[in-house]
């Protein structure tokens, strides 16, 4: 039986809501700080997690992750099998196959690499394989762009993976170490994605503390997989065709139908929120670094009546804006979403239930509707007695610089719309430079641009 089926005995849904964010109080263990890119921070975490199998295909801006891992293996710093493949689809197929042998498995990708993996993503989730993907986020073509936005990250939100977004290279390292432990928890057994903005973090060097191997080993013991095909006597097979109904298997008892398996997947994701917080807190105690409550990070939310919500690079930039606007007397706060799936809806609802205005900045868009963070937040806050005014903006697609001015402009526009009650229903993009196009004419632009 897959690990996930045991979830039914758990007390899901009734978990305590803890919004207290504690400052690390514990002295850090033996530290070694290096100046590393985000990609190399990820590679070091994968090395220290003692991953057994890596399979990957190069893609900008992720490639340095797997190049560094290949270097670790060639220099004997990581005892792992690197399986070279001809595509990302094969990379994740190899990862799935390796994972069912009981091995700890990782890969990394970006943009269309993730989209090419897409077909395998639900298999990994359904089989409850604790694979960790590092995603250096990158926009989706066309037109061709290698620069960051979160379009790739949001496309996989409905397939059953845990999804983290990071804001610094240290957070990439720390989240990777935690991601393995979370993914491999017997109550979870789910694959996870650790994402970070391409170039902005992937290629920027920052101080990163790499913990001592013995401390990482103590925190992250070897994987005890729920499935281990290396012992063929124990397992009869993986992924037989699973019927819509419960099957009676005689002496072996009953087998779940597809519906029961998928129910278990959903429950495992819901339950994982508690584990994610536990692992985060344990990490914070041991290593002295914490990231909000493990689900989201907050800045000056308590007394704020205006809240900015963003993810990754946009949230980082917003920290500066919060300081600036506070100096001007505006009671503004920030929520930086760290956990995107499972979506921490009830925690956000509790945190934001009395706020007046919420401004959401999406470095992504659900084409044909609006920014994904925005409409998910609206959904999460549904049913509040007094609903806040929620306004979303699109920023920074395809690597367009996101500046303080853009964020301040968004806050001001939202406050203005809240005050006048004139809510714009169109999706507003901040930082567009249509006026700099030499012969921009709105009446013809949309005809011409598609050619």
């Amino acid at each position: 039986m897959y690990g996930g089926m045991s979830c039914e005995s758990n007390n899901y849904g009734g978990g305590k809501i803890s919004l207290t964010i504690t400052e690390p109080k514990f002295k850090t263990l033996g530290q070694k700080t290096k100046i590393l890119t985000g990609n190399h921070a990820a590679a070091h975490a994968i090395r220290q997690a003692k991953v057994g199998v890596i399979s990957a295909y190069p893609i900008t801006p992720q490639s340095p992750v797997v190049e560094k891992i290949a270097e670790f293996i060639s220099k004997g710093k990581l005892d792992a099998k690197f399986v070279k493949v001809e595509s990302e689809h094969s990379a994740l197929a190899v990862c799935c196959a390796a994972s069912v042998t009981g091995s700890r498995v990782a890969t990394a990708t970006s943009a269309h690499g993730l989209e090419l993996m897409y077909e395998m993503l639900p298999w990994a989730a359904g089989n409850r394989l604790p694979i960790v993907i590092n995603l250096a986020t990158r926009s989706l073509g066309a037109p061709w762009s290698v620069w960051t936005d979160h379009s790739d990250f949001i496309t996989i939100r409905d397939v059953g993976w845990i999804q983290f977004m990071c804001e610094s290279n240290q957070e990439i390292y720390d989240t990777n170490i935690q991601a393995f432990k979370i993914a491999e928890d017997p109550q979870v057994f789910l694959p996870s994605v650790v994402a970070y903005d391409g170039y902005i973090l992937s290629h920027t060097m920052m101080p990163v503390t790499l913990e001592d191997q013995q401390d990482i080993d103590a925190f992250l013991p070897p994987l005890k997989h729920h499935i281990n095909l290396s012992d063929i006597s124990q397992i009869k097979g993986v992924d037989p065709v699973t019927t819509p109904h419960i099957r009676n298997r005689g002496e072996e008892g009953t087998a779940p139908g597809y519906y029961e398996y998928r129910y278990a997947l959903q429950k495992a994701l819901e339950n994982s929120i508690d584990i994610i917080q536990q692992v985060h807190d344990e990490f914070a105690q041991k290593f002295g670094r914490s990231y909000g409550n493990g689900l989201f990070k907050t800045e000056q939310v308590e007394d704020a009546n205006v809240i900015i919500i963003a993810m990754g690079s946009v949230a980082s930039q917003s920290k500066i804006v919060v300081k600036k606007l506070r100096r001007e007397g505006l009671k503004v706060g920030l929520v930086s979403l760290k956990l995107f799936r499972p979506y921490p809806a009830k925690y956000l609802k509790e945190l934001l239930k009395e706020k007046e205005t919420i401004v959401v900045f999406d470095r992504d868009i659900g084409y044909g509707y609006e920014g994904v963070l925005c409409y998910e937040l609206k959904s999460a806050l549904y049913g509040l007695k007094k609903s806040p005014f929620i306004k979303g903006f699109i920023v920074g697609l395809g690597g367009r610089d996101v500046t303080n001015e853009h964020i301040i402009d968004g806050v001001n526009r939202a406050l203005n719309q809240a005050k006048t009650g004139e809510i714009s229903q169109t999706t507003e993009f901040l930082g567009l430079k249509l006026d700099q196009l030499s012969d921009y004419d709105e009446s013809t632009f949309f005809e011409e641009v598609k050619k």
């Binding site: 100046i35 290698v146 610094s168 170039y199 902005i200 920027t204 060097m205 930039q317 001015e405």
Partner: protein, 199 residues
């Protein structure tokens, strides 16, 4: 407004070089040295985002913060310090983006006054010049016959940022390059430091 307005203690820096000259490595070394000095709480070093071609003009960037963690993720609009590997990569748009009290560092055989006239710098801009190419050629520190600029020019930076000391640079250079090559590079850093013409 610019990136470093976000925090008065953050110093932003742009290097102008050519692909293959090691502008990114220079940023990496200076960021490491700054961090090592203990005078900076946080440092960032990064390349131009996207593809770089050997021989084409490139930029590399660094942000150094004395007091706080750096959360600014925007590009540098107005650098505090501009380091130019040679006159052929001078980009008027970037030079004119230098802060009014910024520092302009260039590898050149010309006098600092030449650049004041060329760019109409205000009196508040500090100009630091040394003929790094010549020093490198004299010491035979070359790659494919071209003088190595990226490490030696950091000696001039130390004149602009006294809390980024020669000792800090020495440690990083030796760590990165090993004793033999590190020593050669560091001698040039010291020479540049001593020979710098400052206005």
């Amino acid at each position: 407004m610019n990136a470093s307005d976000n925090n008065d203690e953050t110093i932003s820096l742009i290097i102008l070089g050519r692909g293959g000259q090691g502008a990114v490595t220079a940023c990496e070394i200076l960021a490491e040295a700054a961090y090592l000095s203990g005078n900076f709480k946080d440092v960032h070093a990064y390349p131009s985002f996207g593809a770089e071609r050997r021989g084409a003009p490139v930029q590399a960037y660094a942000k150094l913060s004395r007091a706080e963690k750096i959360w600014d993720r925007a590009q540098i609009e107005h650098p505090d310090i501009l380091i130019v590997f040679d006159e052929t990569v001078l980009d008027y748009e970037v030079v004119s983006s230098l802060k009014t009290k910024g520092t302009f560092i260039i590898n050149s055989d010309k006098e600092p006054e030449f650049f004041v006239n060329q760019f109409n710098f205000s009196k508040d801009v500090k100009i630091i010049v040394a003929n790094i190419s010549n020093l490198a050629l004299e010491k035979n520190l070359t790659i494919d016959g071209n003088p190595v600029i990226n490490t030696p020019i950091l000696g001039l930076l130390s004149r602009a940022l006294p809390d980024l000391t020669l000792e800090n640079l020495k440690e990083v250079v030796f760590n990165k390059m090993g004793e033999k090559v590190g020593k050669l590079n560091f001698e040039l850093i010291e020479q540049g430091y001593n020979l710098a013409k400052i206005l």
